[in-house]
Symmetry: C2
Subunit: 341 residues, 2 copies
Amino acid sequence: MASSIHDLARHLNISIGTVSRALNGRADVNAETRQRVLEAARELNYSPNQSGRSLRQGATRSIAFMLQPHPGDQQYGEPFFIPFLTGLQARLAEYDLDLMVVMGEPGQYQQERLRRVVETRRADAVVLANTRREDDRIDYLSKAGFPFATLGRSLSGGDTYPSLDIDFERAGDEAVDRLVARGHRRIAAIRPSLDLNFGYLFLDGYRKALKRHGIKVDPGLIADGFINEAGGYQVTPRVIISKDRPTAIIFNNDAMALGGCKALAEMGIRPGHDIAVIVIVDTPLCRYFSPALTAFRPSLEPMGRRLAEMLLASLPAFAGPEGVRIMREVWPLELIARDSD
Amino acid sequence: MASSIHDLARHLNISIGTVSRALNGRADVNAETRQRVLEAARELNYSPNQSGRSLRQGATRSIAFMLQPHPGDQQYGEPFFIPFLTGLQARLAEYDLDLMVVMGEPGQYQQERLRRVVETRRADAVVLANTRREDDRIDYLSKAGFPFATLGRSLSGGDTYPSLDIDFERAGDEAVDRLVARGHRRIAAIRPSLDLNFGYLFLDGYRKALKRHGIKVDPGLIADGFINEAGGYQVTPRVIISKDRPTAIIFNNDAMALGGCKALAEMGIRPGHDIAVIVIVDTPLCRYFSPALTAFRPSLEPMGRRLAEMLLASLPAFAGPEGVRIMREVWPLELIARDSD
DNA sequence: CGTTTTTCCGTAAACGTTTACGACAACACA
DNA sequence: TGTGTTGTCGTAAACGTTTACGGAAAAACG
């Protein structure tokens, strides 16, 4: 069934060394012999066995994508990741690299799974998602000297690895800008309570913009909640209760925004009429919600492709003539103005 | 850095054969030696190199999931697949199997990518999604004798492989039932135009239920469109235009439903008021749309786990004491009644 | 023609495992 | 004591590649 390089060699009456060299485009093989080898390979339907290759070369030609569902995130997961994954795997495929997807149990750190991938050398590098502010996965990989890149920034590990993130500061900043320009002064911010770094980045931008506009930051207008619909539902009333009610809310997560809007509805407060709502990361849900939610949208598929490139550029085996480069990029979001603000 | 079985052997002054047997729980090794080996393995932080293992055993311990985006399906992909993938990979992980995700270019058949996986033996089996009515991927895998399972049914390949599908016939049937019970007699059906099998299955159920209720099937009430929002938007007016307007529409896809509702809105027809709308496969979008769309919902995460089990049961290396079994299952959907019908 | 260079190819080792086989010692049994 | 059995381990081959090395023939050069 599966023909090996030995079959080819026997069939052609030459040595396996020559066959291998011919197939790999080595210079020291006669043009005619190469031709014969290639023909025979087609004829015998030969493809190199990846396990043999991996063993000899010490490289598996596959990249692991570590996706960690947030706690409570069950039914439909993050729509966020499919387009990112699409881009990532598309670019990797161009380099003949495979993509392994490793998920953790929802809400559980995935150190074990990560260790397994690294120690059994199932992948040549990993891509981390759901980056935490302090991320022990990053510490582990740095210490182990295992190549990786992250989607999202982290305080861990220094500048030793490529990372690509969305510009949450700027999004927070621009959201405030937009709201202030529309006359709002009391602007609430709702973000996830976990150690997810983007919650901090968002808040930085939010604070900075308020300060620029001479608006005092009111801690009563900032709330943290579980990063899902229930969390948004639960925590939103807290910023509403305050005597001097906000006229606008910025949600740092789409699911939380949906839950928040539900809570608002129950309080008789209509987004887009009685209160302005902006969501920092757009998903299709924002578009179809009623009222359609104004949101900041990232370019996920291009980001996936880009992070693949950045990761490869950091790997000696794939680095171009300029040598290994550690790149860090922060990408802007695009404001999609809809009906909620 | 990476310690091999040789390092262990040298460290303990025993042969690599014994080390391997000890680690693999073979019977013919002294209890005390095994203890020493296990300790040394922990001490030297040893994990078996997967490439070496794969090469020797002729098995990679990884399963490929072939996900093929539909043409035109770009920004957010199918929210459908994340929970399925979660379940699939969770169960596979229990068997220490990895999940490789292979996507095709949107709208392009992925034969090439599939051949590559099979011929270079990068995976031990594959799981096919987006099953076509006649699917050349299935033909290829059957002919090649490569193990696989499918999410979705197909006419290709006979009953030689495990498959798990949603009961689209019954969903179509029940949707009609429900609408008839509410007084509707003119019920339109909109489905994808591609060769996707579920479009046919749905229509079977739809026709069967109409017949049971003594309602003649009106071809003017059935339309095929591109399986995305634009397709639904484009094709929905066709069934509306007919002189004797339908009072209800069943959409066989969530994206098409959203596009269809947009078209209806532009014609001044309000779902839930002027026309009843039911969607066959629920996604979060249906829930947040306004009006919230009544829809049939599958249990995707359990289905993912189940298909993993079914695939493994069909593999000699994993089959239990009953031996290899080829299972085919069709799972019911749950009706989520909302506001659109 | 002799020497050097180039071209091309075969040999064999190596990557890290698993496992069939046989060896040896200890033990049991008659 | 001789024979068979059992327990434990070492040896070596094998999986399918790639590649360092060396050698033979051909070509180039003086």
